[in-house]
């Protein structure tokens, strides 16, 4: 299957705005930090100084570039689900499945039929973006584009019968212009807010719900004393702090 990289024209989405994506504050901070580090490096007049000057120079270059072009990204993820294309399409198209069952709600649906993308709720960010369905063929594909300009994104979900008895290949191709510069974008990735990661885990959850009927978890299971290092890694393993892990029901009750 060809996954188009120019989704705007093919599926009715608008082209992205030409406005720079980086906030003025981030650009200003990048330029100021770049200038300061470069000056410090030059003043040191040694090999360490040369390294600092190099790093500062990169930040200056990066800040200047941000003024000229927005941060754009692409993500493509595919999964195979052991159900028919129509079943997978119906599951994905049913708004009841969006917020209720997925751990990170990717889309929300209100009574007027408006769709909103929500991200980072569990990270305390609660980012919302209105979505318009621009093109659709039942059982085959759904295309969307963002309505507002804060976080511009568009994409298409394809449903295709997999060879043999393997079920359905569901694939999502996404293009976005993040309301951040590359530095914020990297930090967001560390916190699990990278669009490709979110897309991959979202699709994985759809597969798990459709095939196994549940999303596997260890949140709330017994653990021993974690110590400092393992407590810090809880974010990585999606583990909740001990206070939230009180048993709802004791075994054998």
């Amino acid at each position: 299957m060809t996954i188009t990289t120019n989704l705007a024209e093919k599926h009715g989405g608008k082209p992205f705005s030409r406005r720079p994506a980086t906030s003025k504050l981030e650009t200003a901070l990048t330029l100021a930090a770049g200038a300061a580090i470069s000056v410090y490096g030059v003043l040191r007049r040694d090999w360490f100084g040369a390294a600092f000057a190099g790093g500062g120079g990169y930040l200056l270059y990066s800040g200047m570039s941000d003024l000229r072009r927005p941060y754009q990204g692409r993500a493509r993820v595919a999964f195979t689900i052991a159900k028919s294309p129509q079943e997978v399409y119906d599951f994905v198209r049913n708004p009841q499945n969006w917020g209720r069952s997925l751990r990170e709600p990717m889309f929300e649906h209100n009574d007027d039929g408006q769709v909103t993308l929500r991200l980072g709720e569990k990270h305390g960010l609660d980012f919302k973006s209105r979505v318009e369905l621009t093109d659709e063929k039942p059982g085959e594909y759904i295309a969307w584009a963002s309505e507002d300009q804060r976080f511009e994104h568009r994409g298409v979900v394809h449903f295709k019968k997999a060879p043999g008895d393997r079920g359905t290949e569901i694939s999502v191709a996404l293009e976005y212009k993040a309301p951040t510069g590359p530095i914020t974008h990297s930090l967001a990735s560390l916190a699990g807010l990278n669009p490709e990661q979110l897309l991959r885990e979202g699709l994985r959850q759809i597969k798990q719900l459709m095939e196994a009927g549940e999303i596997p978890t260890t949140v709330g299971q017994p653990v021993g004393a974690r110590g400092l290092r393992a407590t810090a890694k809880r974010v990585l393993y999606h583990e909740r702090p001990a206070a939230e892990m009180q048993p709802q029901r004791m075994a054998g009750d």
Binding site: E214, P216, T218, P222, V223, G224, A225, R226, A251, D253
Partner: protein
């Protein structure tokens, strides 16, 4: 409840932790009556498996009584006596439906971690690092068993815990290692490592019709146990050249199939072994593949190399030219547990084998830290340790 927790390399402790609860609709809770320490637990103990964290509950060989079930559990009922396989499988995905249970798509909550390391993720495992799912294990008084309908094997009346406990891992693992050899009448099978899995591999090879089995180790008690199972034995410490010895014993042909039941912590001797050990100590490698090199070298032309021993990372100095030159077949992987449990239970019921032969030591859960040390150091002729989570400790 009491549970044995990993606290770092060479350090395990019995701690008081919360009782497990139902977290998902297809979960069950099992009150554990018997649990065992596996050779692969020693890889965790020795600190060779990445993504283990202090506080992780250990143990993947266990059985007991079902005390609670989620709302989507139908086959298993409260009060059932069950053995739980160490691989967690959903029973619904393409892999489960094709008997590749340990490749299940839907049971590893940390699949992304394993995808980064291996390209794709296998099933979740009990008590075996966060990369493998981070599930709390069964060296404890209770355990939560996800997808209990798919995994748990109901134990018929009249069989003791110790006769069926090893259907949770080592018996099916040994059996799959032998089955992977495509044994035909007249075949000679050589098995490196006479630990618990090796012992079951020897007996499984005979169950599957092998003509002769040659077992290789250096500990007398393990070789004695192998001989009791019908194998011819080689103590590699006492022969000058192991490969020459194997050639001599097989009329110059070499074994039809060679099984590596040792894995990543092979002891080995000589310069190559010292090199592997140094690399592992410097954290440049997880694995010491001495045995893997030997099985490739020893196997006959067109033969099968079967690997039930665990490997974790990127191996080097593997004689791949020899493997290609002789046209070898490689079979390996985590055991497809659910494919074998029913079949092997029948063998136990019919009296073809009594798996409890392998047990040399019995401890309470409180004595587990000492049991780990003893098993690791192979003190007191230790081959297999079984733990009773409810017994009073010997020390008390």
């Amino acid at each position: 409840m009491k549970a044995l927790c990993w606290q770092g390399t060479n350090k395990v402790e019995v701690e008081r932790v919360n009782d497990p609860v139902i977290l998902n609709p297809r979960d069950g809770i099992v009150r554990i009556t018997r649990t065992a320490i596996c050779g692969s637990d020693l890889h965790l103990y020795d600190g060779y498996i990445p993504t283990m964290e202090p506080g992780d509950v250990l143990g993947h060989e266990f059985m007991g009584e079902v005390v609670d079930t989620g709302r989507e559990v139908n086959r298993v009922k409260k009060g059932d006596r069950v053995v739980v396989p160490f691989t967690i499988a959903c029973g619904q995905c393409h892999f489960c439906k094709h008997d590749l249970w340990s490749a299940c798509d839907n049971t590893n909550p940390n699949a992304w971690m394993m995808e980064k390391m291996y390209g794709y993720s296998g099933s979740g495992l009990f008590g075996y690092s966060h990369m493998m799912g981070g599930y709390a294990g069964g060296q404890a008084q209770f355990v939560r068993v996800p997808f209990i309908d798919v995994g748990a094997l109901k134990v018929p009346d009249g069989l003791d815990d110790e006769q069926v406990l090893f259907l949770s891992d080592i018996f099916p693992t040994g059996y799959m290692a032998a089955e992977n050899c495509d044994i035909k009448p007249g075949d000679v099978v050589a098995i490196w490592g006479c630990g618990p899995v090796g012992q079951f591999t020897i007996r499984s090879a005979f169950l599957l019709g092998a003509e002769r089995v040659i077992a290789i180790d250096r500990f007398h008690e393990r070789l004695k146990m192998a001989r009791a199972g019908g194998a011819e034995i080689i103590n590699y410490d006492e022969v000058e050249d192991l490969l020459a010895e194997l050639k001599w014993m097989t009329g110059g042909r070499g074994p039809d199939a060679c099984i590596d039941a040792v894995g990543l912590e092979a002891h080995g001797t000589g310069v190559a072994a010292a090199y592997d050990y140094a690399k592992q100590r410097m954290k440049l490698s997880f694995d010491r593949p001495t045995v893997l090199r030997q099985v490739i070298q020893a196997c006959k032309k067109g033969g099968v190399v079967s690997i039930p021993g665990v490997y974790g990372g990127v191996l080097d100095k593997i004689p791949f030219g020899a493997a290609f030159g002789k046209g070898l077949t490689f079979r390996m992987g985590q055991t497809q547990m659910q494919k074998y449990t029913e079949r092997l239970l029948k063998h136990v019921q019919q009296g073809d084998i009594d798996p409890s032969f392998v047990i040399t030591h019995r401890f309470s859960l409180d004595d587990a830290p000492e049991a780990y040390r003893m098993f690791r150091d192979k003190r007191d002729q230790c081959v297999k340790v079984v733990l009773d989570p409810w017994a009073t400790p010997k020390a008390a």
